[in-house]
């Protein structure tokens, strides 16, 4: 079974802090994603990576950056956390480059609260 793990299930940070969310997948997938999930809005793509050191912006990249130094690990960085970044953050991975048609495998999510 594909396993996608996220470093924290719950995280509480203060406004202005730098926040790192880590995601690891164990199936040698090419593609990794970061989404945020908010009630009534579904999933919104923040960033996507299709290879080591490669990234593309999603729909809502403002206030976020990402890092992919190793194939299995994709990090989401909030340079200066703000209260409007309080949300559930989901990491996902998929095998092929046909992202819009391939199954995505999700981690359990990190619920981030920014005070």
């Amino acid at each position: 079974d594909v396993k996608v793990t996220q470093s924290s299930r719950y995280l509480v940070k203060r406004t202005g802090e730098k926040v790192f969310l880590e995601c690891v997948q164990d199936m040698d997938h090419e593609n990794m994603f970061w989404y945020r999930q908010d009630p009534g809005l579904g999933l919104r793509l923040i960033y996507f990576s299709y290879d080591v050191k490669m990234k593309e912006k999603g729909d809502i990249p403002e206030g976020y950056s990402v890092s992919r130094e190793k194939k299995e690990r994709f990090s989401l960085i909030l340079e200066s956390a703000s209260t409007n970044q309080t949300s559930m953050y989901l990491c996902a991975s998929s095998f092929t480059l046909a992202v819009s048609t391939d199954t995505q495998y999700f981690g359990p999510g990190t619920r981030l609260t920014v005070l």
Binding site: G42, G58, L90, A92, V99, S100, T103, F106, P108
Partner: protein, 115 residues
């Protein structure tokens, strides 16, 4: 613009009753359609997907969905729900020809099971 609509934010169903969750999409080309489920405390999991062929698709956990091009719909059904089906369900659309990294996600429908 492309979009996915899940008209029901919440649905309450008695255990053992049948279920239908609605999904409507707006997209000009041939859609690739997905249903994912998010159980409490768990990551999203693929229930089923439709690419082509038979418009009635069978998935895991006894779910099925029917693609109706004339109605731009991809409704999810189950003949008899179990308490363990209580979860949030997301419909998503991807398509060849659009940006290859993105699915369009619905806002989700939360399923509540009455004992």
């Amino acid at each position: 613009a492309q979009s996915v609509t899940q008209p029901d934010i919440h649905i309450t169903v008695s255990e053992g009753a049948s279920l239908e969750l609605r999904c409507n999409y707006s997209y000009g080309a041939t859609p690739y359609l997905f249903w994912y489920v998010q159980s409490p405390g768990q990551g999203l999991q693929l229930l089923l997907k439709y690419f082509s062929g038979d418009t009635l698709v069978q998935g895991i956990k006894g779910f099925e969905a029917e693609f109706k091009r004339s109605q731009s719909s991809f409704n999810l059904r189950k003949p008899s729900v179990h308490w363990s089906d209580a979860a949030e369900y997301f419909c998503a659309v991807g398509a060849i020809g659009r940006s290859n990294y993105q699915l369009i996600w619905g806002a989700g429908t939360k399923l509540i099971i009455k004992p």
